[in-house]
Structure formats: C-alpha cells, structure tokens
Subunit: 110 residues, 4 copies
C-alpha cells in the first residue's frame, strides 16, 4: 500500500499539481470519479454493464482509488487503519444477529 | 492489500450481504459514500472542514475505500494493477512537459 | 411549468425512451448530471468557473432540471407543491431566529 | 415559475444565507441532494423504493429543484429558456430517426 501511495504522489509531484489539491477540491474530484464509474452502469442492468464496460469500470474505479489515496496522504490518514477502524464501527452499527441477510439500514425500523 | 480485502469480504459474508451487492448497486453506494465525504466540506472552506471534521472525513473516506475494494473483488479486478495501469494511462494523457504546473484538463485548449 | 413538462415528455415520447426510464435509473441519471454540473467548477474557484464556463453551467443545470421534471412527472409529483411543501418543512427545521446568518446545519450543535 | 423562485429566494433572504451561497458551493449542495434522492433507491429495486419511500423521494427531489433554482437565479439564468435551449441541443445530438427506441448514447457506436 505504501509503495502504491508513493507512486501516486510521485505522479502528482512530477506535474507540480499539489498546489491545486486542497482536500475540498480532492473530495469534489473523488465524487466526480465515482459518478463516472456509475455512468458505466447508466441505462443498463448490472450484468449488461459489466459485460459491455468492464475495462472502463476498472479504469474509473482506479481513479476513485487514486483520489482516495491522495486525500488520505494529504490529511495524514493511514488507509489501512482507517478501513479497519471503520469496519469495527460498522460492525457495531450492524451486529450480525440483527442484520444477517437483510439490506435494512440501521436507521430503519425492523 | 489482500489481507484488507479479505477482512472486508469476511465482514460482508458474516452478514450474508453478498446477495444485495450486484456491481450496479455497489457503484451506487460508492457514489453515495463519496457524497457523504463531500458533505463534510459543505458550506466550509477546505481548512475549516478539515479542522472541524477530520474524524468524519476519515470515516467517510474509509467507506469509499471499503465499497471500492468490494466492487474490485467481485469483478475480479486487482486493485494494485488497476491503479498502476491507470497511472500509466493518465501519464499519457497528461505528459509532464505539457501539463506541469497547470490544472488544465487534457480536453481543454492550451 | 406544465407546458415545460409537456415539452420534456414529448421529447422523450418521440424517441420512445420511456421504456428505459424507471425511477431508479432516472435518479441515477439526475446524479450524473449534477456531477457534470459540479465538474464545471473542478479545480477552479467559484468566480473562475462562472467566468470560464457559464454556458456549460446553464446546459448542465438544464439537464438536472429536465431529469427532475421527468421523474416528478412519472411519479405523479406536482413540482410546484413539492417545492412549497419542502420550503415549509425546511422553515421548521431552520427557524429564522435560530439560523439567521449561520451556515450551521440543524443537526449541528449551536 | 417566477413566483416559485421568488419564494425560494425569500426563504433564503429571511435567513441571510446568500453570503454562503457562491455558485460552487451551491453546485456541491445540489450534488449532495441528488445523492440523497438516489439514496432512497439504495439496495432496492425501483418498484420497492417507490413503494417504500415516495414521500422521501418527493422531498429530496424538491431539494434538488430548490438548489437548482437558487443557482439559476444567482447566475441570471432563466430556467425556462435554459430548458428549452437544452432540449433543442439534445434533439440535435439525438435525432429521432437514429435514436428512437435505443438507450445508446450519442458517443457510442451504433
């Protein structure tokens, strides 16, 4: 993971783009890339989209990950521990015995 | 990275949620989490948001990464090579000598 | 407003596109158009974006409105009363005496 | 329409919120509201979502429209002519004889 983040930051530094990348604008760009990913599914069933657009899905997903890792890096967030901590929080919000096999949200009544 | 993805998938399997996670609905959820991340910056400057909301930023970013890795896993996409391949494509679209120090998009005139 | 919505629906009917427009896919498309609108502001200050991209802003905003009105039409939602009812709800969540001159959300502590 | 926009702007002026509403932040908020609308469809089929969440769909759609009209107002965009002009552009991109009955995008090969 560290090696990957270093490559991403090197890509940015070679272009001297850090100056444009404040966290708010990175969050905007991350949203835009997530939408481009979603666009590969527009007007299609999930199966149709995967069959027609798998390469594009991979590329857009990579862009989402690249911006995510830039933002984490700039804010001093360790990606791995952020994920592990969030999984623990999600496990508390969604205990197995209450949420197994249901897509209900924790804010929705049983 | 593999270890992290295994933990994410184990979290899902314990809750038997794979049945709801077709790629299109995962892409929707990824977009929603990206928006929740962006929401931590709403009506604030970048600095104000980071000062007020760093913990929330970390949590929302983790959710973005969790859905990204689930989607990659389900589609057989290797996260690391997807990122490295996309960095190469981006490097072709944005050669250093033409794009150093500019936020211009490759689709915009010089 | 009714006249406008009729024109939008006529545009769709001429192309026989109603068959693709279930509400979920319309909501996806509305999100994608909102992102295209936001993209006109990417890496720019608000002023820079308005100066450089006002025509694109107008076009993307129109697409957001077109999908909004299609979705309202298909679900039997009257746009005008939906807005008036929501303004009333927002007025209850944000009473003038407590929220005048502050960008605080109603969920945030004073 | 004018009457509706006047009511929306009056709601804002009573709270003295114009100061926070630069076009970029309005575009962010519009995206966030579009995502809240999409969230009412998360993990559900279109039919399930409409059945379970029609009131929420109406409210979130209203928020999308409220921000859209604020942004149009602030930028001097006439909503009605923006929509009519965009319908004309879309009609050029999607001529009836080529796109009737297909969800293909104009950028996709026939």
């Amino acid at each position: 993971m560290d090696d990957l983040i270093n490559k991403i930051i090197a890509f940015r530094d070679e272009r001297d783009w850090k100056q444009f990348h404040n966290p708010k604008d990175l969050a905007i760009s991350l949203t835009l890339e997530a939408s481009e990913l979603l666009e590969t599914f527009q007007w299609k069933s999930s199966e149709q989209a995967v069959e027609a657009n798998l390469n594009d899905i991979q590329d857009e997903l990579a862009d989402v990950l690249i911006y995510s890792m830039m933002l984490a890096h700039d804010l001093g967030i360790d990606v791995k521990s952020a994920i592990l901590q969030k999984l623990e929080k999600n496990a508390e919000k969604y205990p197995i015995d209450k949420f197994k096999g249901t897509s209900r949200k924790y804010t929705e009544a049983e």
